[in-house]
């Protein structure tokens, strides 16, 4: 999955999306709702693969359907009584901040993705996608892994300072 994301996601679409759309429609949703919840399910699944949180015997299709059900419940709490979860599905955890963005954070992210684009890309590669530093060095044109490491920390400092400054100024505006 980590080697060729596009291919892995395409296969998951073919293997899992029809089931999820069927389930969502049974819950009263549309195909569009099914596609949207599936996109989010893939993100949660991807993070779990990266973080080594999947048991090796896990049935991929069943697990992704379980994530979709949990996400559906996170969005539509009132349907709790209608959604039956088996033991495996009950144990699936969803990141606490998955649907928890607020306006301030949205503005901050927009600002950082514009003003600190390259740094954000480097940091996302390392912290989010867990890309190895030698690969980051090559992709971003650093002469070696050491330069990539130093740049990563400098970027982290820069973005940390921007997050602090921006958040404080947003708080002043809101007050």
């Amino acid at each position: 999955m980590l080697g060729d994301r596009e291919k892995a996601f395409s296969n998951l679409y073919k293997n899992c999306l029809p089931n999820i759309c069927r389930w969502v429609q049974r819950m009263g949703g549309t195909v569009e709702d099914g596609k949207d919840i599936f996109q989010d399910s893939l993100i949660v699944y991807y993070e779990k693969v990266l973080n080594g949180q999947l048991e090796s015997f896990t049935n991929q299709q069943a697990y992704i359907l379980g994530i979709a059900k949990k996400l559906w419940l996170k969005k539509y709490h009132h349907m709790k009584k209608l959604v039956e979860l088996n033991a495996m599905e009950k144990n699936i955890s969803i990141p606490i901040d998955f649907y928890a963005q607020n306006k301030k954070q949205n503005r901050m992210i927009h600002f950082l993705e514009t003003a600190g684009k390259r740094c954000m890309e480097i940091l996302q590669s390392f912290y989010y996608h867990q890309t190895p530093l030698p690969e980051i060095a090559q992709r971003f044109g650093f002469s070696n892994t050491r330069s990539a490491t130093v740049q990563k920390y400098k970027c982290l400092e820069k973005i940390r300072t921007q997050v602090k400054t921006k958040q404080m100024s947003y708080e002043e505006i809101m007050e």
């Binding site: 679409y13 759309c21 429609q25 963005q101 130093v150 920390y153 982290l156 997050v163």
Partner: protein, 86 residues
Amino acid sequence: MKRSWNETRWIDRFLLQKLGLSNRNNFHKRIQSDAAFAQKVEWQQKTYQIIRISGRRKLKKEIQQIEAHLLGSNGDQKLKNQIYNI
């Protein structure tokens, strides 16, 4: 300057739970004795959250492109039938 990113690296290793026990104890002592340092730790943690959320958004866009390709006019007919003829 060097000290500054060394400190960032130290915080990074702490937050990613990569510090050994004695180093971790030193880190806790520093947090308790140095308010500015404690704040840096807090902001760095917030920064990771921002990176994660932003990473998710980009990944969602990437997934949407794959979806558009699979379900578009030249996409996978079998998959389209399975989805739209439920």
